[in-house]
Every structure is written in structure tokens, then in C-alpha cells.
Symmetry: C2
Subunit: 264 residues, 2 copies
Amino acid sequence: MEPVHSSMTDETIDAFHRGAFHLVQPVGRGHRAGMDAMLLAALVVDDRPVRIADLGAGAGAAGLAVAARLPKASVVLVERSPDMAAFARKSLALPQNAEIAERAEVIEADVTLTGRPRVATGLADDSFHHVIMNPPFNDPGDRKTPDVLKAEAHAMTNDLFESWIRTAGAITIPGGQLSLIARPQSIADIIAACGRRFGGIEITAIHPRAGENATRILVTAIKGSRARLQLRAPLLMHDRPDAHAFAPFVDDLNNGRIGYRRLR
Amino acid sequence: MEPVHSSMTDETIDAFHRGAFHLVQPVGRGHRAGMDAMLLAALVVDDRPVRIADLGAGAGAAGLAVAARLPKASVVLVERSPDMAAFARKSLALPQNAEIAERAEVIEADVTLTGRPRVATGLADDSFHHVIMNPPFNDPGDRKTPDVLKAEAHAMTNDLFESWIRTAGAITIPGGQLSLIARPQSIADIIAACGRRFGGIEITAIHPRAGENATRILVTAIKGSRARLQLRAPLLMHDRPDAHAFAPFVDDLNNGRIGYRRLR
């Protein structure tokens, strides 16, 4: 991410994937996309002309990253906040994103909608090959964020994963893939929410460095699969104790040069 | 483990911790103790004169390993199977185990007992500093085992962790520690069963080698803690691709030379 400040405004245009796409984001408020969104995007490895839903897309970082890396994919960015959805639309309107924008659209809708109201927004049953999500979180122990936009992005309800993964289960085709990035603390909620909707769960812990606790988990699962959960080899963000640079594999994921393929 | 076959019998006497204690075990039937029990035992790091309950102790491997490493600890081996409990008593009667046997006893009881019946067996409320368990498991996909004793040891019911951790929650003192080893597939059941009973959950994945999926998880938690779950740096059984020997740290854990300490 290389921010380019638009002077006189409260937004930036940030380059991702070394310039393959750009994102218009608010400054000093709202959730700003970074590594999490890029790692999430890496979980979609599919060369077919697939339809992908990015639930809670924010300014669209993860969804556009998938579209940038997979030239046959089309992406629907689903975002509840009118403010953030507006940023996503601005991103699609950037001349730098012209090619990607032909394969992307924004739906302003609450991810937790069910039944007819959900279908009415454009999220039909069994209609996406992939669903990706980087659900908001908020630690009760953390200081309260003074910013409403950011608070909304980080607000965590007890049944967030249940309601988000319920929607994912409804709109994914049988055999389609759910991909998400979350905190390790959410691992049980995620597995419980997958329930009988998604199986073949594969979890990869992300540790900043060797010997340190995980800070994120990458999770993929297949709709209708009965395969057993697998806890995969972890990823280290930094593979040498004193290095500030990312490990080469993580850097490749972050810059869209490769995807992170499921085991099966 | 260096098995010494008692000829003319259907049992062996196996040395653990390089001879620090011995175990009488059935041959060709029942669950035979090994690395899992030794890693479980390593999770108890406490130099005080603590009371420890080993739930579903089998022949007593994990509980006796803790007693062998911690000279002030006393251990209660809880085992439902009269057959396996008899092996545990035989182990305590071995002259090689004389010192440890003074600090160990066997209770023949079902771990899932509740209330008065549970207390009547000797498992009183709030009476153990540590509870350890290596619960039986059985993959629905695995071939059926022809052996009743082994089937019993490996039988997995849906709510096994709920009922076992419920008992652990009852008999552990406030602030006391639960320690267990399990398959990665059980991670969500374990966290759910800890519920509000145990917090400060620390999970360590064990991978056979770098790049391979985890085959076991080590879990500790503290009764009444509200601390957040942590996913710790994983352990590799073998730290070089072509090495059959255990990684030095794992070998030290396996042989009782060191414990595996919680982060907090």
C-alpha cells in the first residue's frame, strides 16, 4: 500500500498489488484496508469465470484485489455503510481501475439480511462460487474508538459469525468456497457457524514472527463438504528475527503475485 | 518408551522418562500410552505441593509422568474401565515406582459422573490444582477396531468434551489449570466446553514437520479466567526434513526434562 494523499480532501488514493489497482479511502476515520484484505484476497484461487461476493467489503480492498489477480472473476462488493459504499464506488470510478470496474459492482446492503429482503438486494441463493469476508471486530478490552465509522466497522456482536456465515451459506453454490480472515479468538465461533453449511475447513494461523502468538487466522471451507477440519502449517509474516521486510511468500501473497491454495 | 516384554503374559512393562517411571500395559488390546501422554504431562508446570487429577487415565501414563517430574505433586488417576484401572494399580505396585506410588492413587470412576455420585468417588468440588485429560477419540471414518478395550478408549461421543470439561470445572480450584491434548478437529468443541468455566485458553498446534498439517493440539486454560484465547507458536515434532529423531525441545518434553510453561 503506497498512500497518495489527495490534498484538500479527507481521502487518499492508495495503490495495491504494486499498482494493479487503487482504492479511495477515508483519512482518519473508518477502517483502512491493508494486509488483512490482501491475505483474504489470496485465498481465492480459481481461474474459471467465477462470481465472488465480498461481504462487508468496506472500500472494496479484498474484492478488488481478487478481481485484479483473477482476470476472469467478477466481484460484488456488499457494504452496509452508505459512506463506505460511496468510497467503493469512487474506487470503481477511478481511471486506474477501469478494467477491473467492468467486473465489479457495489451492493449497499446489510450482510445479515435474510430471505426475500436479502435476495431483493441482489444476493440470490446459490449464486456465488466464492464468498469472502473480513468481518469487523472490536475488543471489549480495547479503548473505545471515538470515530463512529470505525466503531461501526469494528463492532462485534456475539453472533456476528453465525449471521454472516449463514448468509454466505445461502448465497454460495454447492461446492463453492467460503474464505475469511479473523482473529484467533474467533476460531470456535467460526467453526460453529460453519456447522453443517460448510465443511472441509482449513485453518492457517498467521504469526508475526517465529515463537510469537498468532495474530490472525485464515479460514477456507467448502459448502456441503463433510471433510474434516485441518490445521495447516502456519505462516510467518517475518521469517527472520530482525527483519522488518515481509517473508517472501507473504510478500507475494500481499502483492497479488500468488494465491494461497487449499490442500484439496 | 522402551518396552520390556514379560514373557508368558499379555502385558509389558514400559520405561518412560528414561526410566524415571514404568508402566504396566496390555499387549495387543487397549490404548497403549506414548508421546501424547508425555506431552500432556509436560503441560503441568507447578513446583508447589499440588493435587492433580488425570481424567480417563488409562494405565496412568500422563499422571505418573507428572508425578515423576514434579516431586511435590500428588496424582489421582481416574479410570472407568476396571481392566485399565487394574493396570494402573499394577503400575503403582511396581518396585521401580515405589517413590511415585506414595503420591498416587487410582479411582475407578466414570469421568462423566456429576453431583453426589461424582463426589462419592473421591472427586470433590474445588479440590484439584490441576486437571489433565487425553480424552479418547474415534474417527467415524476410521475402520472399526475389533478390540473392545481399544474401542472403549477411543469412543467419542458428540458431547465428550462438554461432559469431561464440566467435571474438570467442578473439581478444579478457582484459578486452577485444565490441560489437555486432542486432535485439531476437536478445537471448537473444546473451546465451547470451556465456556465460562475456563478462560485464558492457550492452544499450541503440534505439526509432525514444517509445512505439514497439525496432528494434535495442546490446550491449557485457567478456571474463572477472563483472559483471551491465544494461539501460540506451534511445535514441530521433527525440525529437519529428513530427521527421524525428535526435535530437541520436543524430546526434552517427551522425556520429562522440562515442562511446557504457560505464557501467563
